[in-house]
Amino acid sequence: MESRHTMRREPSRTTALPLKLLGLWAVICHKRQSSDGLTGKRTARVLYSWYWPFALGNGCILSRDTIKQDPIVDDVLDATYKYGFVTDVDAESAPPGLNEDIVRFISAKKNEPEFLLEWRLKAFEKWKKMTAPQWAKVSYPEIDYQEICYYSAPKSMEDRPQSLDEVDPKLLETYEKLGIPLAERAALAGVAVDAVFDSVSVATTFKDQLKDVGVIFCSISEAVREHPELVKKYLGSVVPATDNFFTALNSAVFSDGSFVYIPKGVRCPMELSTYFRINAANTGQFERTLIVADEGSYVSYLEGCTAPMRDENQLHAAVVELVALGDAEIKYSTVQNWYPGDENGVGGIYNFVTKRGACRGDNSKISWTQVETGSAITWKYPSVILQGDNSIGEFYSVAVTANYQQADTGTKMVHIGKNTKSTIISKGIAAGHGDQSYRGLVRVQKGAEGARNYTQCDSLLLGDRCGAHTFPYIEVMNSTAQVEHEASTSKVSEDQLFYCRQRGISEEDAISMIVNGFCKEVFRELPMEFAVEAQKLLSVSLEGAVG
């Protein structure tokens, strides 16, 4: 099913396959999927076995002073990974290796109720019998899960500081350096932040203001203690613990992450965001995020991540679950800038992430926007299950692979309810020896009368040692559905660069301009500050990509 586009000077478009053809295609896809070990159609409950690669790579974001500067140009000449420093903190870590004792240890560290410990243990038992998926177009040496450390937390976080004043200044400094001041007076107006450092949440800002309107925004550990009923009801309800190898692993050992609950009819008054930071060496990060938007509510959530530069690869296997009830809307944006490894492909984060949202209620909407510039390997497919009638799923993605980065990313849109709509806009940019694949599933179930999907999948190549691949899977089981797929591959040519330079524009700026132009449909979906940061990140990632 791979359509490897040949490189052409100008983008070409293949438009809208007729439906009949699609039906046939669906059949072929099915076959192909099973031979790939992809669970195509499983049960009516739609269990997916798509996993995410783990690589470090989420974006650096929200730097206050950088926002004011020129969006594109400033950082171009500073090509190094700016977030690669290590914070020297006294940490408490579990010994490397994974066994039942470690699972119990983590659960005990977090004072968890019995139900959660059991849930973890069950996932762990299942995980032991599972194997890592092989179907993605990424290659990496086998991971020894007994060599990884599954819990690391700064000692100063041991007795749970109650306010920012009690938090170790070194930790606050770390976030300051990353451009995320946690003191509320200095913080970015209108954005509440949950800062996660290795296995623990360091601080969550603006909690009290949010509480006033009934919004719960806290670390998942705190939610487990303070709101066990909500956690019990929704945790694992979108991504079952044993959905795939990495979700099972995450369910067994997840350490922290964010929890959001927006009550009925509330429009969350500020952007919520989580900033993930990996610091400790040889430690995996297994965060868990759960966002529940009750009927008629709205929330916009942002996520960013960075990690130190190290020669060893580090594992990041996260799970994100979104639940949108009737008339609710969740907008989830990610700028992923985990350490991508050096120019020779040494080091970098393995980013294996499962992100899935359920549009449970009628007229609900879930929108994923991602800018993936970091990580040595990225493997993620933010998906939407469109259960409610008239519900809407969206996926806007920019993925960049430079040097030796690999990305296999895309989405799944599963149409179950009537008149459900999905839009997929994927922009892949490959440079250097970078390799990337778009992998997307659009499935229209039998009862999804009037379902519609539009997919646009564009690749841009810089240089001639990189690759871009497209793997669309389309399964249509309802004849009233309309599914449209467009794809293009283009190349930034020497002629284009020379033309720009002849007009006085430097090569770096020309590349930025062309790449940003290529991505603008996605960037305009991002909240303002993110869009600016994302543009700069792209410039930095692609520095030296040509010539």
Binding site: E10, S493, F498, R501, G504, I505, S506, D509, G517
Partner: protein, 250 residues
């Protein structure tokens, strides 16, 4: 202004320019005519700094500086402009945005403030009116889906906005009807004064009715074979290149 001496250049081991001499003073308009494949576009691209071409001998001095030592964007910032024979399409990049980036890059090079959006748009509006261009050009991606004539007009729009001291026009007239030709010439002539020099490459002498040159050169096989005034263009049109006799270098 521009002093080309004994210029030799090759591409992929094929020698194209074989000892070309040319001298352009401030305010002069020079025309180059010559058969297809004689190396006219090669000359234009070598002057602009296209790295696909290798200069194997000779020198080019621009305002007293070694032009061949400068990067393409530096040449552009110093006032050298090439209107391409085949302008390149840049999908996704807005035409106005592109022009603004170019103008501000050049201004920055001269330590001048960026034009603010208002001043810039006023400037573009004025030049577009001069060139009788439709407003839609402002918002379309650079050259994407433009007809041949529209692309050429867009080159001249860039020329008039960037206001270079030394402009090289490579067959800007090819494919234009008489009306378009007249408009393009209007754009060029609007810049014409004692500080602006032009090197106009063309196949047809009719362009030279509108942009009247001070000198006409005939280029054959990578060299200037003859130089004369405007009447040389008429003669060539009449008798063809083959009958033109080699003359001593000007």
């Amino acid at each position: 202004m521009l002093e080309i001496s004994n210029l030799h250049a090759q591409i992929d081991d094929t020698q194209i320019l074989k000892g070309l001499d040319l001298s352009i003073k401030p305010g002069e308009i020079h025309a180059i005519m010559g058969p297809n494949g004689s190396g006219k576009s090669t000359l234009a691209k070598v002057l602009a700094g296209d790295e696909a071409y290798e200069v194997t001998d000779g020198s080019v001095t621009y305002e007293g500086k070694d032009l061949l030592d400068m990067a393409p964007e530096e040449r552009a910032c110093e006032g050298l402009f090439l209107a391409f024979q085949y302008p390149v399409e840049i999908p996704g990049v807005n035409n106005t945005y592109f022009l603004k980036a170019a103008l501000n890059a050049i201004r920055a090079h001269h330590d001048e403030e960026e034009l603010d959006a208002y001043e810039f748009l006023a400037l573009v509006k004025e030049k577009m009116a001069l060139l009788e261009m439709d407003k839609s050009f402002k918002s379309r991606p650079v050259n994407v889906g433009f007809s041949g004539g529209e692309k050429k007009r867009n080159e001249i729009l860039q020329l008039t906005v960037l206001n270079p001291k030394m402009a090289v026009l490579d067959e800007t007239d090819s494919g234009l009807d008489v009306d378009a030709l007249r408009t393009v010439a209007k754009g060029v002539n609007s810049l014409r004064d004692e500080n602006h020099s032009f090197l106009v490459i063309t196949h047809y002498q009719r362009l030279l009715d509108y942009i009247v040159p001070d000198f006409v050169h005939i280029m054959v096989d990578g060299k200037i074979a003859r130089t004369g005034d405007k009447s040389l263009a008429l003669e060539v049109e009449d008798k063809g290149y083959t009958t033109t006799q080699p003359s001593a270098a000007p």
